[in-house]
């Protein structure tokens, strides 16, 4: 079963707002509760902001997924930026090289149900997260 997919390329700050809006709309179509919609959109906001801040440009892919009769949402964030050097530190939270709170990526992991990250130094970043309705 083919579901809708939305790609939002992140180049400007305003694209972050667009990605958040699209994720909210898609989560609503997927039948997510208000709280879950908020969690997904917040996660998208963090991921999009990360792309803009560290890699300058990248893409956010949003799609509705289905597994064993469960509806969920998958959010993929891809960029060709500098990647993450100290992944363990970043995942613990409170660590940031960009002058922010350092809550973003570790926060996304807590906001979503499934989380996987693929990074190599200077070869970009690919984060796949899912949340089930």
């Amino acid at each position: 079963m083919r579901h809708k997919e939305k790609r939002v390329s992140i180049k400007n700050e305003i694209d972050i707002v667009e990605a958040v809006f699209e994720s909210k709309t898609l989560a609503e179509t997927a039948g997510f509760s208000l709280t879950a919609q908020c969690a997904v959109s917040t996660a998208v906001s963090e991921l999009a902001r990360n792309i803009f801040k560290y890699a300058v440009k990248g893409v956010i892919i949003l799609r509705i997924i289905e597994k064993d009769g469960n509806i969920g949402m998958e959010v993929v964030a891809e960029d060709n930026g500098p990647g993450i050097e100290n992944l363990n530190l970043v995942m613990k939270g409170n660590y940031s090289t960009g002058g922010s709170l350092g809550l973003g990526i570790s926060g996304v992991k807590r906001l979503m149900d499934e989380f996987s990250i693929d990074t190599k130094k200077r070869q970009g970043l690919r984060i796949i997260t899912r949340k089930w309705a």
Partner: protein, 166 residues
């Protein structure tokens, strides 16, 4: 280029800042500057940032609020955050964001928190002061005559309306 103009207003010695939609970062930073300038210029008791028009608060906005709170505190005003929805609150816990601000359910309660109603005496206070200070009979008479004028004018005014109705 999108223009985001947030209309701030002062009521009961509080600066009310309604955030109406998800805004880009530069707009939020501009709002932060505007808040500080307004607080400094108008010496309000506190700031109420109302998020009832916002669906999502991420860690950036959380940090902006937390910073603004600290900054306004240094200027001598307190910040209250109002109108957070359940989704935002749940996400905050996951993100580990601490707003550092006092929270109220809605705008009304937020203003009450900063300016309790029994504390706040609106412009009527000035009238009371005048009466207390001016024991002069002259002033008093003047007021009396003003009152008479008012009564006259109202009585003069009434007949036409009744005529009109008939």
């Amino acid at each position: 280029m999108l223009l985001h103009k947030t209309t701030m207003y002062i009521t009961r010695e509080c600066l009310v800042v309604p955030i109406q939609a998800e805004l880009p970062d530069d707009a939020l930073l501009q709002i932060q500057i505007d808040i500080l300038e307004k607080v400094n210029a108008s010496s309000v008791r506190g700031v109420v940032i109302d998020f009832s028009g916002v669906n999502i608060l991420d860690s950036f906005l959380g940090r902006m609020v937390s910073d603004t709170t600290k900054m306004t505190q240094l200027l001598g005003a307190e910040t209250v955050v109002t109108g957070l929805n359940p989704g935002i609150v749940a996400s905050f816990i996951d993100l580990g964001v601490d707003l550092n601000a006092r929270i109220a359910f809605n705008l009304d309660q937020g203003i009450n928190l900063l300016t309790p109603e029994e504390d706040f005496v609106p412009d009527i206070e000035e009238e009371g002061d005048e009466e207390e200070n001016s024991c002069d009979s002259e002033d008093y008479n003047e007021e009396e005559s003003l009152k008479d004028d008012y009564e006259e004018s109202t009585t003069n005014y009434e007949p036409p309306t009744t005529n009109y109705e008939l």
